[in-house]
């Protein structure tokens, strides 16, 4: 009898422990860093901080929230690449428990909070993973529940809000950083579509007549009148910007997440199997064989002159020769995972690893370490 009592209550206790384990599974905030470079300053949104850093020396200029300050409704976790326009740095702040976000305007010089949209007394936005972009007078944000918002960067007042039409998969979630071309704002969605909005009004100009077979989750690449779009159907699409018609498609080895880097006569694109290709403007491979990274290549490669830098999810940063794709050097940043695009600033190659003790690591062009910022 004692054994049975023991049996029952111990097992109930174990179930509670299992519950605690489950709760722990859901409570860890995930980092999806974003970076932006403007006027010799590097802005990094990573986990619980937004930093303004001198890219030459790694010296921190300001951080948000300040060490002794309160971020208010702009607290918790920062994912999307900031937008920098006029005297403002715009960031997206997410509450990871609910996935709800707000856009926040910081003073560019001091990092002081200037405004919050929507204000604390109004319902927040959906999650924001797409980078924020600006045309110089407005800032645009796409949300994970299908809204596109244009804001006045100075005041945080909305110019327009558009809910993208649904296509049978619930909200047209936006994870892909949009692009601006003339009067168009082109948005890719997780429900496989590409849509162009009017930049001034937010009205729909065209939905692309083609539809990918997989989600469009990464940044779009604009090159003249052609838009390059990666999708989870293992293809890279070249799309005519005029009406969204497909020009060609290239089949990769796995999902193509980010659009390619444009490097002179070629496009450099990676996929989630870790392969990296150089394609010509017709989608034909140029290198004799693709470069094979050590992990999935989620982020768009970075091209600086004749050097191609490829960051992979296993934490490797590779330096390739642009001409033939041969590897010159690799460095390993494990346990960090390199998921977001590297940037170049003041002759530094800068990465923001996920799951690393360092928020930002900068390298010289030869991949020797320049500086790094700890968490």
């Amino acid at each position: 009898m004692r054994m049975s009592l023991w049996n029952r209550n111990i097992l109930k206790g174990l179930w509670m422990l299992a519950g605690v384990a489950l709760a722990a599974c859901g409570g860890v905030p995930t980092s999806w860093p974003g970076m932006q470079v403007a006027d010799q300053t590097l802005y990094v949104a990573n986990l619980d901080q937004v930093l303004a850093v001198d890219p030459q020396s790694g010296q921190e200029r300001w951080r948000f929230p300040p060490k002794d300050g309160n971020a208010g409704a702009c607290g918790v976790v920062y994912h999307a690449a900031p937008a920098v326009v006029a005297g403002r740095v715009l960031i997206a702040a997410e509450d990871p428990a609910t996935g709800e976000s707000r856009l926040c305007g910081l003073d560019r010089e001091s990092g002081a909070l200037q405004w919050v949209y929507p204000p604390a007394e109004q319902p927040p936005l959906g999650p924001i993973f797409a980078g924020l972009i600006s045309d110089g007078t407005q800032v645009f944000a796409g949300t994970g529940d299908g809204w596109v918002i244009a804001l006045d960067p100075e005041t945080g007042q909305p110019r327009w809000r558009t809910r993208l039409p649904e296509a049978g998969r619930g909200a047209a979630r936006i994870w892909a950083t949009p692009v601006i071309s003339g009067t168009l704002l082109v948005v890719g969605t997780m429900d496989h579509r590409l849509l162009a909005l009017d930049r001034e009004s937010g009205g729909l100009r065209w939905p692309a007549p083609f539809q990918a077979q997989g989600a469009i989750a990464g940044a779009l690449t604009l090159d003249g009148e052609t838009l390059y779009v990666g999708a989870f159907d293992d293809h890279l699409y070249a799309v005519d910007l005029g009406g969204g018609q497909e020009r060609w498609r290239f089949r990769a080895g796995h999902w193509v997440w980010d659009g390619p880097a444009v490097a002179g006569d070629r496009l450099i694109v990676g996929d989630m199997s870790g392969k990296v290709w150089a394609l010509d403007r017709q989608g034909r491979p140029i290198w004799a064989q693709p470069f094979q990274a050590n992990g999935p290549v989620r982020a768009r490669p970075l091209v600086v002159g004749d050097r191609v830098y490829v960051a992979d999810e296993a934490g490797w940063l590779h330096w390739l020769n642009r001409t033939d794709g041969t590897k010159v050097k690799s460095v390993n940043l494990a346990p960090g995972r390199l998921l977001t695009p590297s940037v170049v600033a003041a002759d530094r190659i800068v990465v923001a690893p996920t799951g690393s003790p360092f928020r930002v690591i900068a390298f010289h062009p030869d991949l020797s370490e320049a500086w790094k910022l700890a968490r």
Binding site: I10, M16, L22, G99, A217
Partner: protein, 298 residues
């Protein structure tokens, strides 16, 4: 990736994720139906184990009158009592811990199901990156990935997010945790129906407290984690009760009578209703076990 994670992924997590996606595709891309179907399949898979557990507990129930006699006879001599109890268990071929294994096996399954639901719903880019490594690819082509993103909206809820439904009352937003309440009610109900009562005051008190805390605890988990998990809990609780009624062949008792009489039947529950078996209960109140108990007495 460390070897344990690799093996866990290969054996549990990856098959679950792909199965969930296949079910989603087969069931009209309805994710709630996919979760329900997955839960039913898991219960069917575990049926041999849970049936064994229930049979072991039935045997324990049948021994209750004799155990009570031993309690009366050797109540003051704990050592002798323990010896006699062990002897009785041996004679009857009963292992009092026989019900543990099926319950223990369900811990990793519960966590794997939760992780599968969250990963398939792909709520953030990192979850999707992890998902991309787990999807089966056929002929080098990931056909399952064309199903992404999953339609996660179900009535008022986003299945991949915690329940945050509010109703405005007099200008104030009041939370309306419907799914959480359903988890609490079904957990409580299944425990109430399936947990046997006890004559021992200490055991009775412990049971009462656990039967109060467990539903609240699962409610707390449900409120804080994705609604998809609440669906899994609710379905599991309902299936547990149906399975219980099938085993005891006492549908009315399972659904109504035990509340009316304030009594519970003999066969123990299975999680997440979370009431592991007890050997301390008196002869069971449900018709079949009670008859067996009488025959054991005579």
């Amino acid at each position: 990736m460390n070897p344990i994670t690799l093996i866990t992924n290969l054996l549990f997590f990856q098959p679950l994720i792909n199965l969930l996606l296949v079910l989603y595709a087969l069931l009209g891309q309805n994710f709630v139906l996919a979760i329900v179907a997955l839960t039913v399949l898991i219960r069917l898979l575990l049926y041999p184990l849970t049936a064994k557990q229930q049979q072991a507990m039935k045997k324990m129930q049948e021994l209750q009158p004799r155990l009570q006699e031993l309690q009366k006879k050797y109540g003051k001599d704990r050592e002798k009592l323990a010896q006699e109890q062990i002897k009785l268990y041996k004679e009857a071929g009963v292992n009092p811990l026989g019900g543990c294994l099926p319950l223990l096996i369900q811990f990793p399954i519960l966590i794997a199901v939760y992780q599968a639901i969250i990963h398939v719903l792909a709520l953030n880019p990192i979850a999707v990156i992890d998902l991309s490594k787990l999807l089966y690819r056929f002929d080098g082509f990931s056909t399952l990935s064309t199903l992404l993103p999953i339609q996660s909206q179900f009535l008022l809820w986003d299945l991949g997010r915690p329940e945050r439904v509010f109703v405005p009352v007099g200008g104030i937003l009041i939370p309306l945790p419907i799914m959480t309440l359903l988890v609490v009610v079904t957990t409580w109900w299944s425990q109430k129906v399936m947990t046997p009562p006890s004559t021992d005051p200490q055991t009775r008190m412990t049971t009462r407290l656990m039967n109060l805390y467990m539903p609240l605890f699962f409610g707390w988990i449900s409120y804080n984690l994705a609604v998809g998990l609440s669906v899994y809990f609710i379905v599991t609780n309902l299936i547990s009760m149906v399975q219980f009624a099938l085993v005891t062949r006492d549908w009315r008792g399972a659904l109504v009578r035990r509340f009316a009489l304030g009594r519970a039947p003999a066969v123990p529950s299975s999680p997440p209703s979370g009431s592991p078996p007890s050997g301390s209960a008196p002869p069971a109140p449900s018709p079949r076990p009670r008859r067996k108990a009488r025959s054991a007495k005579h």
